[in-house]
């Protein structure tokens, strides 16, 4: 009988693979009202921190609402 080429993974290997995919999974920056997950950019911005960007966006949007 021909031997199956498919290898059954052990519980330890399954846990290791699951861990890898969790580590490599893209981080989510936020979710839109329509349900789309906006992914966090992989690197940092050159000229400002994430908090500085969020603050600047809030400032501009607040000024437009006023």
């Amino acid at each position: 009988m021909a031997k199956s080429s498919k290898k059954t993974l052990s519980a330890r290997e399954v846990r290791k693979l699951a861990g890898c995919s969790l580590v490599n999974a893209p981080k989510v920056l936020g979710k839109t009202k329509d349900g789309v997950r906006i992914l966090k950019p992989k690197g940092k911005a050159t000229h400002f921190s994430e908090k500085e960007i969020r603050d600047a966006i809030s400032t501009v949007r607040a000024a437009k609402r006023a």
């Binding site: 490599n24 893209p26 920056l29 936020g30 979710k31 839109t32 009202k33 329509d34 349900g35 789309v36 997950r37 906006i38 992914l39 966090k40 950019p41 992989k42 690197g43 940092k44 911005a45 050159t46 000229h47 400002f48 994430e50 500085e52 960007i53 969020r54 603050d55 600047a56 966006i57 809030s58 400032t59 501009v60 949007r61 000024a63 437009k64």
Partner: protein
């Protein structure tokens, strides 16, 4: 390779900047991560090595081969976009997961490419006609179809959002005392992603 990473292959010239920003915005709004040769400035990595590495890490590619004009100074065309498209198609054909890489290819008109790069005949070439709205609509429709996710908004909605973002962007940069010309790809990506979340998130 990431199922969410998208390699962007287009001109990096000032006259194409608005198109480039529209591509990045649409990719982010569709729930993907844009990647390109501009993403880091590591002098130790040769440019072609960097491009090959990024292509290897991306499942999707958005390629605009419409820039066929001759350079005013040299009188020669730029060949970088066709070269990078060739690398991407090569990776798709010879790579370990060759059936998984997918390319969205743009030219200005639908069949114009046959006059300068006829070997790619048989691919479905999309035409943006030099219009930002058309480019955004085509990209959004393609990703909506690829993701099979009806939550991703349609191209016209994203094009309208991009226009609002373009109005806000100079003001955001002014708050940070930055000129638009100083904005790097990483800056733009971070600003666009945070603006989309602020604009579309729950209050």
């Amino acid at each position: 390779m990431s199922d969410k990473d998208v390699f962007i292959n287009c001109p990096f010239s000032p006259d194409y900047e608005e198109f480039f920003q529209a591509i990045v915005f649409t990719v982010v709004r569709s729930g993907y991560t844009p990647r390109c040769a501009r993403e880091n400035d590591d002098g130790g990595e040769a440019r072609i090595e960097k491009i090959c590495r990024i292509i290897g890490e991306c499942r999707y590619g958005v390629h605009d081969i419409s820039n066929t004009e001759l350079d005013a100074a040299s009188g020669l065309p730029r060949f970088n976009m066709p070269l990078e498209l060739g690398l991407f198609l090569g990776a798709r054909n010879f790579g370990p997961k060759r059936s998984r890489k997918k390319a969205l290819i743009f030219d200005r008109q639908k069949y114009r490419y046959q006059q300068f790069i006829s070997d790619i005949a048989g691919q479905d070439i999309h035409a943006h006609e030099g219009k930002i709205d058309r480019l955004v609509e085509e990209i959004a429709t393609w990703f909506r179809d690829e993701a099979g996710d009806a939550r991703v908004p349609g191209g016209r909605a994203i094009a309208a959002e991009f226009k609002r973002f373009q109005v806000d962007l100079p003001d955001i940069l002014r708050v940070r005392k930055l000129e638009p010309q100083e904005l790097t790809f990483k800056d733009f990506h971070m600003v666009a992603a945070n603006w989309i979340v602020a604009d579309n998130g729950d209050p």
